[in-house]
Amino acid sequence: MKREEVKVCVLRVGGTNCDAETKRAFEELKVQADIVHANDVVRRRNLLEYHVLIFPGGFAHGDYVRAGAIWAKWILAKLGTELKAFVDENRPILGICNGFQVLVEAGLLPGFDGMSLYPEAALATNLPPGYNCRWINLKQENRGKCVFTRHIPKGKTLYIPVAHSEGRFMFVKQKEKQLLERLYETDQLVFRYCSKNGEYAQGSFPANPNGSFHDIAGICNSEGTIFGLMPHPERAFYWWQQPDWTKQMQMPQYGDGKLVLEGVIEYLTKKF
C-alpha cells in the first residue's frame, strides 16, 4: 500500500490525553491519522478500517483500580472480536505509556503464546515512588522482530521523555529469570533504560526512572506486531521539543521519537 493510504487509529476514551500530539506526529509522517473515541468504534464497528491501532498516553478511566486495567477489560468486553481479528491479521498495535499499561492488562503483551487470559506481566508503581517526568536514554535491543523498530540499529541509544507513576515493568518474581530468557529467545525485548553513554542503567535511578526489572522500557509480542513502551516518542518528535535545543548550534529536524513511529509505516507499505 502507499504511504498516504495508511490509516492510523488513535483510540481514546475518557482520561486519554496524549491523542492530539500522537495524531500530529503521524500526520507529519504523511499518513492519515484519526482520533477516534472508543464509543464510536463500538457503535460503528469500524476498527478494521484502520491499519494501525494506537493506545495513547493518559489516564484512561482515571486509572482507578490499576493503571490500564479498566480500559483493557472494557475493550475486551466491547471490542474483543474486532481486536482479535486485528491482531490475527498482524496489523500493528502500539501502546504508549498508559497504552502500554492497557496492552499488558489486556494480555496482549508480552503475549508469549498469543493473547493471554490474564496479564503475564505488570507495570507496577515506580520505585522510587511517585510521578516522574524526565528525559531518559533508551537502548534498542531488538534483533528485528519488532515491526516498529526494525530500521533502528541494534544498540543505538535514543533520547525520549517519560512521565508516569506506574511504569515498573515486572514479571512474577519466581518466573522472572525464565520469562526474561524467553523475551530474549523470541526477540521480544525492544528498549532498555541506559545512561547517556549507552551503559545499561542496572536499576539505578534516574537512568532507570521507575525501577523496572532488567531496565525494561518497551517490549513487543512474539509476532513483533504489538509494541508497548513507557516513554513518549510523540514528545520527542520535533527538534524544538528536545530539552537541549537551545544549546545546539545545528539541530537535526526531528528527535528520536520519530524513529519509533516511522518504522511501522515502512512495515505497512511493504507488507500490505
Binding site: 500530539e21 464509543n39 510521578y131 513518549h232 510523540e234 514528545r235 521539543q241 537551545t246 544549546k247
Partner: protein
C-alpha cells in the same frame, strides 16, 4: 437555632421560610450566622427592606442565594467597596487602580479584560490566549490534597468558561518552614510538611490526569504561611476568537453538564471569606470539594466540540456559589431573567434540600446556554463523551430569577437586586514599618555563604516537585521549567500552541513576600518587575499581567491600609511598564491562630515571543564567551535572602526605577532578537551570586567574574555586590564575535562585561579589591542547590 425564626413549609421536602420581616437587628445577625451566609447587619437590613417591599418573608433558597452572591469571594466587596484612608475616600480599589491603568494603557491586543472569569488577549489574527490564576488557600489549609486539586480543576473551568482549550497550568505555592517545630504548632493547624506534600500531590494529580502540562511556578517558604498556606493555580487556554460566543437570549435553554451535585462544597465561598480558626476543620470540612479530573477531561472534550460547531450561545463555569452564581451572573450579563427547575439537577444522593442543590460547589460542572433548536445535538455530544448533561431551566425575557422545586416556587427575586449589594465603607490606615539595616562585618568566606544561600529553601531547586508534574504533555513545551540535563531553573516557560506557527507564549511570575514586611509598595513594584524581566529574559514581550492578592482580614484597618498601598503600586508600575492587568483574583481573610499572612502579591506575566527559535535559555553555552551584567546594582538588601540567612530583615528594600528598567528590558529584547545572546538569566533571590552559580552549573561550564567592573551605586562590600537583590538586572552570555554589536545595543544602559565562560567547571569571582572572594566547584554549588528539597514529595 431559634425555631421561631424558621418556619417549615408543609412540603415533602425541606423548605423553610425565614421570619425576616419582623426581625430586630440582633435577630438579623442571628439569622445570618445560623444560616452561615456571612452577611453583616447593613446587608441583612437591605435584604429585609427588599422583602418588605414584596410583603413576604424570604425562603432559605432566597437567603442562601443572596448570601452567596454577596460574599466577598463572589462579589469582591473589599475591592469594589468604598475605603476611607487618610481622610480621603477611594470609591473601589479595583476601579480606581486596576481598571484605570488598563483603560489608560488600552492596548489593541486586549480582547476581553475583567469581563469573564479569564482575561483574553489576541495571539494572532485568528486566535486568542485566555489566562486566569485562582487562589485556593482556605480549602488547602483544611484539606491540602483536595483543596489544591480542586483549585486546579476550578481554574481550568475558568478557561473552559471562555470557550478556550486549556494548554498549560501554573502553580505558585507558599508554605511554612518544613522544619517547623511541632511543639509550637497550635491546635487546628497542620504541619507545613503535611500541607506541602498534600498540596503538591493535589496539583500534580489534577493537571497530570487532565493532560495539561504544569509548566511554570514557584514555591516560597515563610513563617506566616504556616497557618495560612498559599495556593495559586493558573491556567492558560487557546481559543479561535470567532468561536467566543456570548449572546444568550431569552428562550435559550440552561444546560447543566458534568459531575453530579452533592453536599460537597456547601458554603465554600462564605468559608473563604472568613478567618481560619481552630474549629475550621470541623465546621468547614464539607466546604472543600472532591476532585475528579477525568470527569473534567471528558467535559472539556464535549465543550470544545460544542464550541467548534457553534451550538451554544454562552457558557460559564460553576465555581464559588455553584448554580446560584452561574445562573445569576449569566442572566444579569445577558439582561435576562431565569427559570430553574431544581429537581432536574442530577444528584449524587437524595435528600438534598433545594437550597443545598442551588449553592453546592460540587466540582466538574459547567453551565451552557443553548438555543432550543440545538439542544438535542448538544445533549448528544455530551452523551458521546460519557458526560451527563441536563436541561434545568431557561433564560426569560423578564428580570426575575424564579426557582421551582417539584412544582413549588421556592425563590422569586429580581436579578437587578441580587447584583446591587449595599456598598460597604471600610476604614484603612497605613503605618510604615520601622526596620533598620543591620550592622555586621563582611563574612570572610563568601564561598561558604553562597553555598548556604543556594541551599536556602526559597532559592533551592524545586526539581523534586516539578518532576512530579507532567510538564511535557501535549508536546508543545519549548522551554521547560527545568533546563537540560542539570535541570537549571529557566526564567519562564515557553509554549508553542499552534502547529503551523513559530509564535510562542512565555509564562513567568514574580513574588517577593519578604519585601512586603518592609514596604508593600516596593514589594508590588518588585513583583511586577520580576515577572516582566523573567519573561524578557527568555525573549517575551507585549506582556500582560495578572494580579493575585493574598491578604489578611480587610476589616482590620491596617491590613486594608497595606492593600491600598499595594494597589497604588499596581497602578504606578503597570502604567510605567505599559503592561495591562487582564485578570486577577483576591483572597482576603488569610488569618489563623498563628496570626495574619504576610501580604503576598503574585504577579503572573503572559508574554509573546514572535519566533520560538529565538528563545534563550539560562544555561551558559560556550567557553570563552563574554558574560555581561545589564542593570544597576544598588545596596538593596532589605528583605533579601542574604539578610534572611543572617537573621535580619533590614530596611533597604529593592526599588524599581521604571524609566531605566524599561530601557533595559527593551535592550535585552533587541539583544535576544539579534541572535547573539546565548544565555540570559534574571537576577533575583540571592542576587548576582546565585544567578551566576545557576547559569554555570546548568551549562556545565565555569565562570570567571570581576566585581570591580560591576555598575553599582553605594556598593562597597563584596557580600552586598554579590547578594543585593536590586531589580531589573540580567546576566547575559554573548557570543564572542558579537561583543561590539551587543555593546552598541546596550548603549545608554548600565552594563558591563563582568567576565567570561571558562572550560573548567569552577565559579571564580574576584572581589572589589581584586582578590578572589568566591571559588567553588560547580558540583559543590549544584549539590547545595539540589539537596535541600531533594527528599521528594
Amino acid at each position: 437555632m431559634n425555631s421561631r425564626l424558621y418556619m417549615r413549609r408543609k412540603m415533602s421536602f425541606p423548605l423553610f421560610e425565614i421570619a425576616l420581616l419582623k426581625a430586630v437587628d440582633k435577630q438579623l445577625l442571628e439569622i445570618s450566622n445560623e444560616l452561615g451566609i456571612g452577611l453583616n447587619l447593613q446587608e441583612m437590613k437591605t435584604v429585609q427592606q427588599y422583602f418588605g417591599g414584596k410583603r413576604r418573608n424570604p425562603t432559605d433558597v432566597e437567603l442562601q442565594t443572596i448570601g452567596q452572591t454577596w460574599s466577598e469571594h463572589c462579589f469582591h466587596k473589599t475591592f469594589k467597596g468604598k475605603i476611607e484612608v487618610d481622610g480621603k475616600e477611594i470609591d473601589g480599589l479595583f476601579k480606581t487602580y486596576i481598571v484605570k491603568v488598563v483603560e489608560e494603557i488600552n492596548p489593541k491586543w486586549c480582547f476581553s479584560v475583567f469581563e469573564d472569569n479569564a482575561g483574553i488577549i489576541r495571539f494572532n489574527k485568528d486566535y486568542g490566549v485566555a489566562i486566569k490564576v485562582e487562589t485556593h488557600n482556605h480549602p488547602s489549609a483544611i484539606e491540602p490534597f483536595g483543596g489544591a486539586a480542586t483549585g486546579v480543576g476550578g481554574v481550568i473551568r475558568d478557561i473552559l468558561g471562555v470557550w478556550a482549550n486549556p494548554i498549560a497550568c501554573t502553580d505558585v505555592l507558599g508554605f511554612g518552614p518544613l522544619d517547623f517545630n511541632y511543639e509550637k504548632l497550635p491546635s487546628g493547624v497542620k504541619h507545613p510538611k503535611y500541607v506541602y506534600m498534600g498540596v503538591v500531590a493535589g496539583i500534580g494529580s489534577y493537571g497530570n490526569n487532565m493532560g495539561i502540562p504544569t509548566v511554570s511556578g514557584a514555591i516560597y517558604f515563610d513563617e506566616s504561611y504556616t497557618g495560612n498556606v498559599v495556593v495559586y493555580c493558573g491556567c492558560i487556554g487557546l481559543l479561535p476568537l470567532k468561536k467566543y460566543r456570548r449572546n444568550a437570549n431569552p428562550g435559550d435553554v440552561i444546560v447543566l453538564a458534568g459531575g453530579k451535585t452533592g453536599r460537597d462544597g456547601i458554603h465554600g465561598v462564605t468559608f473563604a471569606s472568613a478567618e481560619l480558626t481552630e474549629k475550621s476543620e470541623e465546621i468547614s470540612r464539607p466546604a472543600v470539594q472532591i476532585a475528579n479530573p477525568i470527569e473534567e477531561e471528558k467535559l472539556k472534550r464535549a465543550i470544545i466540540t460544542i464550541r467548534d460547531l457553534d451550538f451554544a450561545s454562552a457558557i460559564t463555569d460553576l465555581g464559588g456559589g455553584g448554580l446560584s452564581s452561574a445562573v445569576g451572573e449569566t442572566a444579569r450579563r445577558f439582561g435576562c431573567g431565569a427559570v430553574i427547575e431544581l429537581e432536574k439537577v442530577p444528584l449524587k444522593y437524595t435528600s438534598l434540600a433545594p437550597w443545598e442543590i442551588y449553592i453546592s460547589e460540587s466540582q466538574e460542572r459547567m453551565l451552557l446556554a443553548v438555543p432550543t433548536t440545538n439542544l438535542q445535538k448538544v445533549l448528544e455530544i455530551f452523551e458521546n463523551e460519557d458526560v451527563e448533561a441536563t436541561a434545568i431551566g431557561k433564560y426569560t425575557a423578564d428580570n426575575a430569577l424564579q426557582i421551582y422545586y417539584q412544582g413549588e416556587k421556592v425563590a422569586d427575586m429580581d436579578i437587578s437586586f441580587l447584583f446591587k449589594p449595599p456598598k460597604i465603607t471600610k476604614k484603612a490606615e497605613y503605618k510604615p514599618t520601622i526596620f533598620e539595616d543591620p550592622l555586621f562585618p563582611e563574612p570572610r568566606n563568601l564561598t561558604e555563604t553562597l553555598l548556604k544561600l543556594l541551599a536556602s529553601p526559597n532559592i533551592a531547586s524545586k526539581e523534586s516537585v516539578i518532576r512530579s508534574y507532567d510538564h511535557e504533555v501535549k508536546g508543545n513545551t519549548v522551554l521547560k521549567p527545568l533546563h537540560g540535563e542539570q535541570a537549571g531553573p529557566n526564567d519562564a516557560a515557553i509554549i508553542k500552541p499552534l502547529k503551523d506557527s513559530w509564535k510562542g507564549i512565555a509564562i513567568s511570575c514574580g513574588m517577593n513576600p519578604n519585601y512586603g514586611r518592609i514596604d508593600v509598595y516596593w514589594m508590588v513594584a518588585s513583583a511586577i518587575d520580576e515577572a516582566i524581566r523573567n519573561s524578557v529574559a527568555v525573549g517575551g514581550r507585549r506582556i500582560a499581567l495578572l494580579d493575585n492578592f493574598t491578604w489578611g482580614n480587610p476589616e482590620k484597618p491596617e491590613r486594608l491600609g497595606s492593600l491600598v498601598r499595594a494597589c497604588e503600586a499596581c497602578y504606578d508600575f503597570a502604567k510605567a511598564f505599559r503592561t495591562p492587568f487582564i485578570s486577577g483574583k483576591d483572597s482576603l481573610y488569610n488569618e489563623s491562630p498563628l496570626g495574619p499572612i504576610t501580604p503576598t502579591l503574585l504577579i503572573t506575566a503572559l508574554g509573546i515571543i514572535p519566533d520560538i527559535r529565538c528563545a534563550v535559555s539560562m544555561d551558559v553555552k560556550t567557553p570563552k564567551n563574554p558574560i555581561y551584567i545589564v542593570g544597576q546594582t544598588c545596596a538593596e538588601l532589605g528583605g533579601s535572602e542574604y539578610y534572611k540567612l543572617k537573621g535580619f530583615t533590614g530596611k533597604s528594600v529593592p526599588k524599581v526605577r521604571s524609566a531605566s528598567a524599561r530601557k533595559t528590558f527593551r535592550a535585552i529584547t533587541n539583544a535576544i532578537d539579534s541572535g547573539f545572546t546565548k544565555a540570559c538569566h534574571d537576577l533575583s533571590e540571592g542576587g548576582l551570586g546565585a544567578a551566576a552559580a545557576e547559569m554555570a552549573f546548568a551549562g556545565g561550564y565555569g565562570l570567571e567574574l570581576h566585581l570591580q567592573k560591576l555598575p553599582a551605586t553605594n556598593v562597597n562590600r563584596n557580600d552586598f555586590a554579590l547578594f543585593s537583590e536590586s531589580n531589573s538586572r540580567f546576566l547575559v552570555e554573548v557570543q564572542q564575535e558579537s561583543k561590539k554589536e551587543f555593546e552598541a545595543l546596550m548603549e545608554g544602559n548600565a552594563y558591563a562585561k563582568l567576565g567570561l565562560v571558562t572550560k573548567s567547571p569552577w565559579l571564580r569571582i574576584y572581589g572589589l579589591n581584586g582578590r578572589v572572594v568566591v571559588d567553588a566547584a560547580l558540583n559543590d554549588l549544584m549539590t547545595s542547590w539540589k539537596h535541600t528539597l531533594s527528599g521528594g514529595v
